[in-house]
């Protein structure tokens, strides 16, 4: 019995695909680099795909278009009526009312089962609005670097800046992340009630952008401006970090500074407002 030969390109592609698959196994064993692994595995998949594509193309050349009737449509009204009757017939009286009661109990059950969602916030006494309004600093709390060192004003040159945290806090919980920036004191134009918030030209602002909470990490010395890398809000360091550009709509909260007995920088009170982005209950 003589048979027509299989299409050459298909056989070839399947064959090469098989070789590439073996190549992947070998590349793995030899611990070859990621591009090599990708090339042989991707090559194998590509060749198998090609073989199948050529094969299916050959089939399509032999096959005509086929047609299939679309037998879907609305049920005839008579049949639909049968269905409706079967659905509503009931040997027990007032089944409509019973279904209503079922609906009431299940809805109540569903609503009651929402309550345990409260456990997603593990502390049962925590009120988000209060936590967000809380300041990470209080009167006399020292400002520490990431390496847990206290900071003196002269650790910063004019034009320098440094990220600090409240003494004893976990730097990974970043509500306390604060930027210390030193400018020359005569340039400062702080609001009248904040004239004594700076020490030797060192000012402190929350590092969390008031737009969407990103760390405001870029500082330009001339003019003294902070830039948020996420949405490009710009804050003026000299006048209390009022937003100058971009979407941020309120100033970075400022931290009043003072010196302790050892000449280290400490907070002279809480932040001037909640840090980070606003929420609907936000009060400046």
């Amino acid at each position: 019995m003589s048979r027509a030969p299989a299409p050459r390109p298909v056989v070839l592609c399947f064959g090469l695909g098989t070789l590439c698959a073996m190549g992947f196994a070998a590349a793995y064993v030899l611990d070859l680099s990621t591009p090599v692994l990708g090339a042989v595995l991707g090559g194998s998949l590509t060749l198998i795909a090609l073989a199948l594509a050529v094969w299916s193309h050959r089939i399509d050349q032999e096959e005509p278009d086929y047609v299939e009737e679309r037998a879907i449509g609305p049920t005839s009204s008579e049949q639909f009526e049968h269905f409706r009757q079967a659905l509503t017939e009931s040997p027990v009286p007032r089944s409509g009312f019973l279904w209503g009661m079922f609906g009431l109990s299940v809805t109540t059950l569903g609503a009651a089962l929402l309550f345990p969602l409260r456990s997603l916030l593990p502390s049962m006494s925590e009120v988000p609005d209060e936590v967000l309004s809380e300041s990470a600093f209080s009167q006399g709390r020292r400002l520490m670097t990431e390496e847990l060192q206290p900071v003196k004003p002269d650790d910063l040159e004019v034009g320098g800046y440094l990220t600090v945290f409240p003494d004893g806090s976990d730097p990974r919980q970043d509500v306390g992340a604060t930027l210390l920036i030193r400018v020359s004191p005569d340039q400062l134009q702080l609001p009248a009630d904040r004239t004594n918030w700076a020490v030797d030209g060192v000012v402190a602002y929350s590092k969390l952008c008031t737009h969407a909470g990103c760390p405001v990490g870029l500082y330009a010395d001339q003019p003294a401006q902070l830039l948020c890398p996420c949405h490009h809000s710009v804050f003026n360091v000299l006048d209390g970090a009022k937003p100058m550009q971009g979407p941020a709509s309120h100033p970075l909260p400022q931290l009043p500074l003072a010196l302790d007995g050892d000449g280290n920088l400490v907070a002279n009170g809480p932040f001037s407002g909640p840090v980070g982005a606003a929420w609907w209950g936000y009060r400046a």
Partner: protein, 504 residues
């Protein structure tokens, strides 16, 4: 010999399940031949690829925020205190053999998955195939898009690197921007104030189990409705609302589709091997003092990021409430976007007064108004994506960031009207001139289109009612092959494949 053994297995199974006649019918299912019908399949196959690579990654990833000392083979990080999530992702990249290939292929596949869904959605939108009876499957598809975007974002956040940590902080702030319940919502999701110590674990459960399961279920629903309603198809000879013309599933379409599956996997693997993506060891772990570099999001959430940059600064206080700035771009825009998508079949129906059932895929030109709206919307989101890449524009033009932002603020409002208008005019010219396609549209076609409109002889909008039996008397019988003019081929038995008919 081998054939006989295979035959025996088939027979054994049929004796127990009696599946042969159902399988026979399924094998005769008709798939339309147009390429645009394969976009959804690309999404399906990239999802399968994501599941396969995801299962491998799960075996090595440690979804924990707990600190650990890194001691893997990436020397610059030796001795550093980082989260287990970050450390294990770096290990997958350097210490698990083939781990980086799988990780990068997984990330690329996520882009292809969301991208294919978006293109598929565009196909359905511009050809009007969300219309009755496919509104339900349209809403299933929109839900799949939302889930795909969310799962992409969740997966992006798992390595706990510097970029994803910043992304999560933005996510936290957006959650805070939800009207009235925002602070509670954000705290419930993160288990406290940002960053808390549970978000990686929670996103992990969502990313590897809950959302993929939902996606799998909805894909099943999507397919089931598709099989029940059968494919739509482009109009042509012998084609009507009452039939489907194309290739049979077996033996032709199954092999074609299988080929596509291998191609999709091949593209993901080749990208994973050659194109670096998300090198988290370069970004570093998430720790706020370090972030200085411009941050960018993956494109499928990038439009929100871009809109956040463009929205002007304002934070009004009303009746004791503050409306946070991030509410508009972060909460309202996605809500409006997805609400509009969900409701589109019903909005379109109101606008066009087209309440009929459609199985013939319209060409986009048949509804210039819809083309205009679609193109305008795509332009809007496109400009938002450009705003996400402001940095690149700054590098190219050396213009100040503020100028570029102000320009984009105007462009994002004006350009959609311009492109929408142009798209409308082109679609109308194509419709009225009958030109073959966008690239074939000549000056003469524009003239002809204008004359046709002036003479008031614009071709009528296709009938919205399904054609009755009288209108399509030549509708061929089921399972019947057609010749090139769409006439049944029953008379030329040489063309009839012996298994071509659906058994009655």
């Amino acid at each position: 010999m081998r054939a006989r053994r295979a035959n025996r297995v088939l027979r054994l199974a049929d004796e127990r399940l009696g599946y042969a006649s159902v399988a026979r019918k399924t094998m005769a299912k008709i798939f339309p031949d147009h390429w645009s019908f394969m976009l959804g399949e690309i999404a399906l196959y990239s999802f399968m690829f994501l599941v396969a690579t995801g299962i491998y990654l799960v075996l090595f990833f440690d979804p924990s925020s707990h600190l650990t000392t890194y001691d893997g083979s990436y020397a610059p990080m030796h001795g550093k205190e980082v989260s287990s999530a970050y450390a294990s992702t770096v290990s997958i990249s350097f210490d698990v053999r083939a781990g980086l290939l799988v990780r990068q292929a997984h990330h690329w596949a996520a882009h292809i998955f969301v991208g294919a869904i978006v293109l598929h959605l565009c196909r359905i939108f511009f050809t009007g195939m969300f219309r009755k009876p496919r509104e339900l499957n349209w809403t299933v598809g929109v839900t799949l898009l939302i889930l795909a975007i969310f799962n992409g974002f969740a997966g992006y956040s798992l390595p706990d690197d510097l970029l994803s940590g910043t992304g999560l902080h933005i996510f936290f702030s957006i959650a805070e921007g939800t009207p009235f319940i925002g602070d509670w919502l954000a705290f419930l999701v993160f288990g406290g104030n940002f960053p808390g110590d549970v978000i990686i674990e929670r996103l992990y459960a969502l990313h590897i189990l809950i959302v993929p399961a939902l996606i799998a279920i909805l894909i099943t629903v999507h397919m089931a409705v598709l099989i029940r309603q059968k494919h739509s198809h482009f109009s042509g000879p012998g084609r009507s609302d009452a039939n489907v013309v194309g290739s049979r599933m077996w033996p032709s379409y199954a092999i074609r589709s299988l080929s596509l599956m291998f191609f999709v996997s091949a593209v993901c693997v080749l990208l994973g091997g050659f194109a670096q993506i998300n090198p988290i060891w370069v970004w570093g772990d998430f720790s706020s003092p370090q972030i200085t570099a411009p941050s960018v999001a993956d494109w499928y959430v990038g439009w929100i990021e871009g809109a956040l940059r463009l929205f002007p600064p304002m934070e009004p206080h009303l009746l004791g409430f503050t409306i946070p700035n991030q509410f508009w771009a972060g909460v309202l825009l996605p809500l409006v976007t997805f609400a509009a998508l969900y409701l589109w079949p019903w909005i379109d129906r109101r606008l066009t007064h087209d309440y009929g059932t459609h199985h013939l895929t319209g060409r986009p030109r048949e509804s210039p108004g819809r083309v205009a709206i679609g193109v305008a919307a795509l332009t809007f989101y496109g400009v938002c994506l450009v705003a996400m890449s402001e940095e690149t524009l700054v590098q190219w033009t050396h213009a100040p960031v503020a100028d570029i932002r102000n320009t984009l603020r105007v462009v994002v409002i004006v350009l959609p009207f311009v492109t929408g208008f142009i798209a409308h005019r082109i679609a109308r010219a194509l419709r009225d001139s009958g030109a073959g396609g966008l690239l074939l549209l000549s000056k003469a076609d524009w003239r002809r289109a204008r004359e046709v409109r002036r003479a008031g002889k614009a071709p009528p909008i296709p009938p919205s009612e399904p054609p009755t039996e009288e209108e399509s008397p030549e509708a061929p019988a089921p399972g019947e092959p057609l010749d090139e003019e769409g006439r049944p081929l029953t008379e030329s038995p040489a063309w009839v494949h012996p298994g071509g008919r659906i058994p009655e």
